[in-house]
Symmetry: C2
Subunit: 342 residues, 2 copies
């Protein structure tokens, strides 16, 4: 339990002032080259480590970015985190990460923690049920930048980073229609969240543009978990006529739903064609391979952190940028490719 070395210890050792030591250690130009060398040498030798708290307290800046994420353990979100960590690390920022576990209550608590931690900026993907933005106001009014990613919300002071969920869903649904599907069911989640609302919209417009009727009962709102996929399959099996196409808002639910349908003897894609969302690893493993939308999570994480840091460095202004949209694409695989069209 050694005592920490401070700049005072170094100053005493070299008979200099703490000021000079501080300057030397921070590459301040106004310090003699030799002095600087001596200071750095002895600092290393004594095992000096700067005290971040004292420094932060003084500088009113933390070099820390707060991240609020619904869940850490999904393939998509863990890719996002990986991309964020890489960029933050490169720019010498730390990442404080918390999960809302899809509840607004935890999201509010997390925001408070982030605020108390004086993060320089905040990256947020909203929980399913969040329906107020009050917990982010303290950041806004303090001038701390807030960026939303994936599950975003319109806010005139915040940038959003998204993919074009409407377009992606539109294309996915059109693809199913082109494969001859007439009764396409959409399995998705809470309509409070842009990602799911936009996808539903894309689905509806695609139906219209393909002269297919919209049926309220063909939209299933769930939490998109593995279990939700199974339950959806059970509902689908009871429907008559059964849907002949399925557009699911994530791959987890798409795959579990497919498997449950297959267990019941449904042939995919011939009886029901299926499209998922995210391009998770399982989508490439399920048989038949799942058609899905490639969602560039890693890049989204990189872009989010990069934008935030740019803004913090005054190189850009996120209060002007409204939305950054990343490219996504439909990856067509066997689960939706019909050999013979009806």
């Amino acid at each position: 339990m050694d005592k920490d070395i401070t700049i005072y210890d170094i100053a005493k050792e070299l008979d200099l002032s703490p000021t000079t030591v501080s300057r030397a250690l921070n590459d301040h130009p106004a310090v003699n080259k030799n002095t600087k060398q001596k200071i750095c040498d002895i600092a290393a030798q004594m095992g000096y480590r700067s005290n971040i708290f004292a420094s932060n307290l003084r500088k009113q800046r933390t070099n820390t970015i707060g991240v609020i994420v619904p869940r850490l353990n999904s393939p998509f979100m863990s890719s996002v985190m990986a991309g964020m960590e890489k960029e933050a690390n490169n720019a010498d920022y730390n990442l404080i990460i918390t999960q809302s576990l899809e509840t607004m209550q935890k999201e509010i608590t997390n925001a408070r923690t982030m605020f108390d931690s004086r993060v320089d900026g905040l990256l947020v993907s909203l929980a399913y049920e969040t329906d107020t933005m009050d917990h982010f106001e303290p950041f806004i009014s303090k001038g701390t930048p807030v960026i939303f990613y994936d599950r975003v919300i319109e806010h005139n002071q915040c940038t959003s980073i998204v993919i074009d969920n409407f377009q992606a869903a539109y294309k996915a649904t059109c693809h199913l229609a082109k494969q001859g599907c007439k009764r396409i069911l959409h399995l998705t989640a809470n309509q409070k969240r842009n990602v799911y609302a936009d996808r539903l919209k894309g689905y509806r417009y695609a139906l219209i543009d393909n002269n297919l009727p919209f049926d309220e009962s063909f939209v299933l709102i769930t939490n998109l978990s593995e279990e939700a996929g199974v339950e959806a399959a059970q509902q689908i099996l009871k429907m008559q006529p059964m849907p002949d196409g399925l557009f699911v808002s994530n791959d987890t639910a798409a795959v579990s739903c497919m498997r449950e349908l297959q267990k019941a003897g449904i042939m995919i894609p011939d009886d029901i064609a299926v499209v998922g969302f995210n391009n998770d690893p399982i989508s490439r493993v399920i048989e038949p391979n799942l058609t899905t939308v490639n969602y560039p999570g890693y890049e989204m994480g990189e872009v989010a952190v990069r934008s935030l840091i740019h803004h913090l460095n005054g190189l850009s202004d996120i209060t002007i940028t409204n939305t950054i949209t990343l490219r996504s694409e439909l990856i067509v695989r066997a689960s939706s490719l019909r050999t013979k069209i009806e």
Copy 2:
């Protein structure tokens, strides 16, 4: 960009001393009930938020835990992170997370960052190539607890949290042997890491106990990526005689290897029986479903944080506890279950 409210502002407002305000806000017993109420009320009203840095600086404690992880975006590691975050959140600790990306260089840099951030404790899973512990010494000599999880190393001051990799591999290999496999190949990773060294050992002992010969060329050391699985399959296809059993140290590589073998017309499990490791979601999706070792990542994360916090609170002493071993189990699925034994 409002100015932050401090305890001085509150003190002035109520004509009290900052000391009393501080006490009231920290539930100190020696403060009048009414005074306390008044202080808390006005604090809330003024939007006071404690400055963590000032507090940390003064208390020499940060309520922050550092986590070093090889990669964030693997199903196993993201489960571990999720478990850690949950426990940390519950105990009012923050988590600073960094990835080493499997390089020792980054791991060292990360450790420095953590040290500078004055984390109260450090949780580490080692990179493939790490072969010195020097970067953790500063923590040890300062009395900051370090706990290793998953990829651990023997250290007389640190607890390790693991599963019994030897036993797990032993059982997996014996299972293959019982299925009639005579030539079992082991696909694994860098032997510097306990997890892979122990599994190789378990594999070897299982061979011995089943009267099967050990063949150096039947141990493939890779990075266990998806590509590595494909390359392994290509090597396997060239072998003669080909192996008839395959024990792979993670599911990612096991699955990609299986698929490549299947493409070449190999029947699984009849030509080659396969066992993976981790119980990732893909293991339940691949056909035939992959026999694998269930590795409780979420629990490992919880246990790691819980142990650390217990230690920090003086409720236990991790310098005494050598190792915490979590339960793991072989999950037998179709990829290794032979209908007819040779």
